[in-house]
Structures are given as structure tokens and as C-alpha cells.
Subunit: 128 residues, 2 copies
DNA sequence: AGGATTATGTCGCAAAGTGTCGAAAAGTGT
DNA sequence: ACACTTTTCGACACTTTGCGACATAATCCT
């Protein structure tokens, strides 16, 4: 497997869940069902448990008494949420849906080790 | 074998698959059946597994927490898709067919380590 | 506790992906 | 040119996946 690749359009069900594309399932289920979902600049990043660990490692070099670094840390931790894959679906909490402007349709965008969730209109703008 | 050479015209079947030219099969089947197909500027580029690895290597120095770099990474990962040769055929997912404007006929263009897929009219313009 | 809101599981249909086979077409050797 | 082999192609049946809908379960609030 080559990590999370590709762009998928999936629908949010009436309860705010998405179906994980089959190609991602393989990657996730070998792993642990836990995920960390993190609000970025208008979209969401999803870290499989393992990658979140690696990310924390990276963040651990930042110095919490430096204002710059502190902001960066806050960016990650403050708006992150733990999720799980259940019955092949991920529930996106209301706050995160809100933050990313997700309505009925969600673009799932592979980024190798992680993947992102975008509202279609924002994705459109981003990807040209 | 000397890598992927030559230009072939093949047809898309009713489900969007192409038959891999016999001359390419040797090269691919010795190898691993996995491929990565990536949308470029109006056409598709197909990386055998091994070559994709080399490409990732090239991307690995980018820092996913830098916005600039992140965009660059996204350009590759988001537009890529994992495929396989199955029964001598490659399924080109609907999104990729769309992106490359593929209809009934596809030009397969050898590029040594990789090969490309073009809609005939676009290829005409490019090579003409 | 009761009712509302949020979360989770399951099922069936429609759409997308896959395997196979035989006929047509292209390529090969004599 | 002819027979023979290989490759390509279309068709069909089958399998898997995505998605909406509904039912059930958990949680929160007053």
C-alpha cells in the first residue's frame, strides 16, 4: 500500500458520518480504528493513531514558552478530536463539520500518511 | 527490456478498462501488479510501484506542516490513485477518465520508466 | 424519569469494479 | 498467400462498494 492517495467525493449521512473509501479501509484497519481529527485552515486533517504519535513527536520540539510555537501547538491540540471508525464509517463531530463548512458532500483527499476532509466549494478553490 | 517504449491506441471497455499492450505486460508483470496513476495537466501518468517509490523519495524532504510544501504534496497525492493490473487490464477510475477526457479510445505513450495515457485528440495536439 | 438530541448498527438497492470467455483482429513464419 | 499464434475487444455474469433509510442505543437536559 502506498498510503492515502486520491480524492473521493462522499456524502455525509443524516447523522454526520462519512463512509470511508474502501481503499482507505485496508490501510486503517490494519492499524488501529482510532483517529485524530484536527481543524486546520478551513479543512480537517485526519491522522491515523500512529501518525498522530509521529506528529506529537514533531511538536514536542516546540517550546511552549515561545509565543510562536505556542500558537502552533494550540493550532493542533485545541481543535483536535479523537474519532473512531465504526462499521466502516467515521462520525464527524458537529463542531468539526461546522469549522470545515461541511454540508452534504465531503471531499476526502489523500495525503499519504494522513488524509484531509474538505467542503467541495473550498476544495474547488484550493485545487484550482 | 528497455522500459516502456512506443505509442499504442487501445480501447476503453464498457467499464472503463484498457488492455495493457502485450509489450508492456512483460515489464509490469515481472514487477508488482500495483501501479499509481496520477492526473497531470490533461493526461494521466502511470507509475509502476517501484517508480512511484522513487517519486515519493523526491517528495519526502517537504514539510507537511508548511503551507507551501503541503500544497505541493497535495498536488501529487490528491491526484493519484492506486491501480492494479488484473487479468491483463487496468481499470481507470471514473474521476481519472474524466480528468483526462478519455472516451472510447486511449493513447498509451511509453516514457521509459513510466507511461502516459492520453485522449487521442489531446495527444494529436501535443505531438502534432 | 421523560423527551430530545446525538451516536451506532444493519440492510437493501444502485452503481462501480472484476473475471472470463469467445470472436475478431493483428502479427508471425514458411 | 496461407495457416497458425498471439493479442485485443466486447459482452455478460458476478462481486464489491457506496449510500440512503430505518431501527436501536446511548447521552444530555431540565
Amino acid at each position: 500500500m502506498n498510503g492515502f492517495l486520491g480524492t473521493y467525493s462522499v456524502s455525509l449521512d443524516d447523522k454526520g458520518r462519512i463512509n470511508v473509501p474502501a481503499k482507505f479501509k485496508g490501510l486503517l484497519e490494519q492499524d488501529i480504528p482510532q483517529l485524530v481529527m484536527c481543524v486546520m485552515d478551513g479543512f480537517l486533517i485526519v491522522f491515523p493513531q500512529r501518525e498522530w504519535g509521529a506528529n506529537e513527536e514533531r511538536l514536542s520540539h516546540l517550546n511552549p514558552s515561545e509565543k510562536e510555537d505556542r500558537n502552533k501547538l494550540r493550532e493542533f491540540y485545541a481543535r483536535a478530536t479523537e474519532c473512531e471508525i465504526k462499521s466502516g464509517k467515521i462520525l464527524i463531530p458537529a463542531a468539526q463539520r461546522e469549522a470545515a463548512g461541511l454540508k452534504n458532500e465531503v471531499m476526502i483527499v489523500g495525503m499519504s500518511k494522513t488524509f484531509e476532509l474538505w467542503a467541495p466549494d473550498r476544495w474547488e478553490k484550493e485545487s484550482g
